[in-house]
Amino acid sequence: MDANQYIALAAFLFGIGLVGVVVKRNMLVVFMCIELMLNAANLTFLAFARRAGNMNGHAIAFFVIAVAAAEAAVGLAIVIAVFRTRGTLNVDEVASLRN
């Protein structure tokens, strides 16, 4: 299997995530779409690492996963806090930082 197919799949994944971020209004779904885009980036890194035959792509993908986990922890805590104070998750209604 060629690296091209993996990169094409990653492109599809990234595009779907991008459209989801723009189209969806629920904060949690926007969050999930960001995870999809991070996964697409990881897939590309690993496809190129396989092609180049060294470990640097693996290390970067590893850090991406770690940072995604950290982002999930803090981001979802913020989502819950916003929901508690505003009572909504619609990103259009939560447009200002102040009440």
Binding site: A3, N4, Q5, Y6, A8, L9, A10, A11, F12, L13, F14, G15, I16, G17, L18, V19, G20, V22, V23, K24, R25, N26, L28, V29, F31, M32, C33, E35, N39, N42, L43, L46, A47, A49, R50, G53, M55, N56, H58, A59, A61, F63, I65, A66, V67, A68, A69, A70, A73, V74, L76, A77, V79, I80, A81, F83, R84, L89, N90, D92
Partner: protein, 213 residues
């Protein structure tokens, strides 16, 4: 009762025939994957299977009206990409994907879904906007990326043999990637403190609420 027995007999006959035909073909010297898949190799077939799984999951995330279905679609997409990591000779990252993404991030997202949604009215809370604009964005980005991916003649280097990568990753972490490695611990520390500060406030606000309910 007899109908069930008939079903069983038919099923058993089918299985026996299938195994018999397969065994006969293999005795002639054919390889098992060739019989089932024809010219398409087993690796290719598995790639397309996992790619379809990833694609379907991602589409579910972006299109589903029900937020729980979105979460399950994310599960399928993460499983699919994790399986593809194996084909890219990244076994340790596949395990990491399973441990951190599916075992951690996805569970956290499901927790957040449970915590925030009045799940009975889930369809209202997941409105989407501008499907036309979204479609236009998709048409504008994806073909370009896919064209670049397929048309670019990436330098052809014969891929190395498949080998366990854990040792190499450990080596890379403690030599070239030492600074990012230590910074990752600081990121985790900041995560721990930040998330506890944010969520802890919620807990305090929550106290009188829980005592009532």
């Amino acid at each position: 009762m007899p109908r069930k027995i008939v079903i069983w007999v038919v099923l058993a006959a089918l299985v026996v025939t299938f195994v018999g035909v397969l065994g006969a073909r293999m005795a002639e010297g054919a390889v098992l994957p060739e019989i089932i898949l024809g010219p398409l190799g087993l690796t290719d077939a598995l790639f397309y299977l996992f790619a379809a799984m990833t694609f379907a999951g991602a589409a579910t995330v972006a299109l589903s009206k029900n937020i729980l279905h979105s979460a399950l679609g994310l599960l399928a997409a993460l499983m699919g990409t994790g399986s593809l990591y194996v084909f890219l000779s990244a076994d340790f990252l596949a395990v990491t994907q399973l441990l951190v993404y599916i075992g951690g991030v996805l569970v956290l997202i499901l927790f957040a879904v449970m915590l925030t949604n009045r799940i009975t009215e889930v369809k209202i809370s997941n409105a989407s906007l501008g499907l036309v604009g979204g479609g236009a964005l998709l048409v504008a980005t994806v073909p370009v990326l896919v064209f670049v991916a397929i048309a670019t003649p990436w330098a052809t280097i014969v891929p190395a043999e498949l080998a366990p990568t854990t040792r190499e990753i450990g080596n890379a972490f403690l030599t070239r990637w030492l600074l990012p490695f230590e910074l990752a611990s600081l990121v985790l520390l900041a995560t721990l403190i930040g998330a506890v500060v944010i969520a802890r406030k919620e807990l305090k606000q929550d106290e009188p609420d829980t005592s009532v309910s």
